[in-house]
Symmetry: C2
Subunit: 336 residues, 2 copies
């Protein structure tokens, strides 16, 4: 039954509520002596201001939302950690919302936070997201948004990404250098910028190495493991099957390994594999997995920093820029 209010505290300390509020906000209007008295009272009665009342009056919630498709994925959980660590330092609170890759849910969520619940948003769009009206609605309410990883290109704001094109290009080149003649690219969403960038990097490398078009293989995967399993089965059972794979998402790793095991295809002997992934276990897979490792934690931290800086300056129109934090190609046994 704690819940002491500013009014009750004021009575006990024999000062006005205004004095308490000002003392707590370290206003110059309050003398040092009074401040100390108030602080002592606050400690004694364990008073903390009601955040709803405070937010209502100040029109600032000290809360941000992070809207992401998924959390059981090492990229997003690491990024979340980066974001949370900064928020905690700066005294911000973090609301988390998962879209489960659904455009519909993404819209509902943004609509739900557009009115004073949060001061800003950090977001990685769902793979289904094709237009940005719901995002515009947020910005019309003066809620700044910073994208990370999966960005909405057309929205003018800061975007923290990794060098998807370049790293995919390098990954492809790596496979080519190791002698692959027929490399398949496993794609996910057609909408996602990052997926297309990665595809383009892949295609560009193939072109530069004069790989003929019949060996350009882009395979569309889904969010369902079973479906992906059969797709990969087909891919790897065909006559002219690939001898190299670049998987654009982490989740495909298990599927690839399992299909290979089932079909008796040796990695890296008959098939070399690279995955865009932040799996901790990449080094201890069998064989250990060559990855394009994204700087997830850093991307989260950077995106959060940009957002908080804007919030603290009350500069709600964030500069339209792209911050690129490079990924690292970590070569391991799966491409030996």
């Amino acid at each position: 039954m704690g819940d002491i209010t500013i009014k009750e505290l004021a009575q006990k300390l024999n000062v006005s509520i205004a004095t308490i509020s000002k003392a707590l906000n370290d206003s110059h209007e309050i003398s040092a002596a009074t401040k100390e008295k108030v602080l002592a009272g606050v400690r004694k009665y364990n008073y903390t201001p009601n955040p709803n009342a405070s937010s209502l009056r100040k029109k600032r919630s000290n809360t941000i939302a992070i809207v992401i498709p998924e959390v059981a994925d090492s990229f997003f959980s690491q990024a979340l950690k980066g974001i949370e660590s900064i928020a905690q330092n700066l005294g911000y609170h973090v609301l988390i919302y998962l879209t489960y890759e659904s455009f519909y849910k993404e819209r509902l969520i943004l609509n739900d936070i557009k009115n004073g619940r949060v001061d800003g948003v950090l977001m990685s769009i769902s793979s289904e997201t094709s237009n940005s009206l719901h995002i515009k609605a947020l910005r019309d309410r003066n809620i700044p948004i910073v994208f990370f990883d999966r960005v909405m290109e057309e929205t003018e704001t800061a975007k923290v990404v990794t060098d998807d094109y370049q790293s995919s290009y390098k990954a492809t080149q790596h496979l080519l250098e190791r002698g692959c003649q027929h490399i398949a690219y496993l794609s996910t969403s057609k909408h996602l910028m990052i997926s297309n960038e990665r595809k383009d990097g892949y295609l560009q490398a193939l072109k530069e190495h004069h790989i003929k078009a019949s060996k350009h293989t882009v395979v569309q995967c889904s969010n369902h493991a079973e479906y992906n399993f059969t797709v990969l089965q087909k891919l790897l059972q065909q006559e002219d099957r690939p001898d190299g794979i670049i998987a654009s998402i982490e989740r495909l790793t298990s599927t690839i390994y399992l299909v290979c095991k089932e079909l008796g295809i040796a990695i890296p002997g008959q098939l070399k594999v690279i995955t865009f992934s932040n799996l901790d276990t990449a080094p201890i897979l069998s064989p250990s997995l060559t990855t394009v490792s994204q700087p997830a934690f850093e991307m989260g931290r950077t995106a959060a920093s940009i957002l908080f800086k804007a919030l603290q300056k009350k500069k709600l129109n964030i500069k339209n820029e792209k911050i690129v934090i490079p990924s690292v190609l970590v070569k391991r046994e799966s491409t030996n």
Copy 2:
């Protein structure tokens, strides 16, 4: 520049603000015709009530906090997903706080949410947490709390756990059946209930099989990978080294595999390994990993359900009970 308030909407619709509020809350005081009129206005002007004003008045925030040690861990990320999915369905918002296994941070966090920011808390305590004063402070403010996985035994509330003792017992028995004579148990926190339960299950199985005390080896590990690496190096280099390992936390998996690789110890030939883990990649490790798989998602869902049920009934004293959702021992190559 949206931010239309109830007052502005009232003017446009030519009704009082009370009418709008009541219409939106589907009060019987409002006629069907007026309700429809209000609803139409709400849609037209895209009005959503300010949550701070609403929470202040109603003394309910429709928000819960989830306080966990870590998120880059498959157990917690899956549990988080379970929690979020239920919260989203019921229209609750979820604040996330990470303690990074620090008792100090855990206290700061709980202190920060004790005053109206959240209606309830879902929590898994840090490995350092040794007393429950900070938790009592929450309950004194009538904020219900439900624990999952890592529970505070002395707090009287619902606790959703898995059968740590039993599953550890079974895991140990499995190793014994596979011929292990000297099994080491890798522990983490001395404070954590779950860690001790698992240790007890392990010890009990050893006793029942009349393994002499010199072959009871409990190794204290930490949260630091490098430290753990050297600890395991020592363990596995000694004369009388173990031929079986039960690791009580997922994070140790990589370390074990890497140390074995370095020392040239064959799994499962010379050392059989079981980990308490929810790793997706367990089946594709080399060798594939025998795990005690915890029902993380289900535990999250269950804990959330109990909390929300209590909140909706305004029954803030949650029954002191333990809900046990069993783990599954998944046998794979690492214990062949």
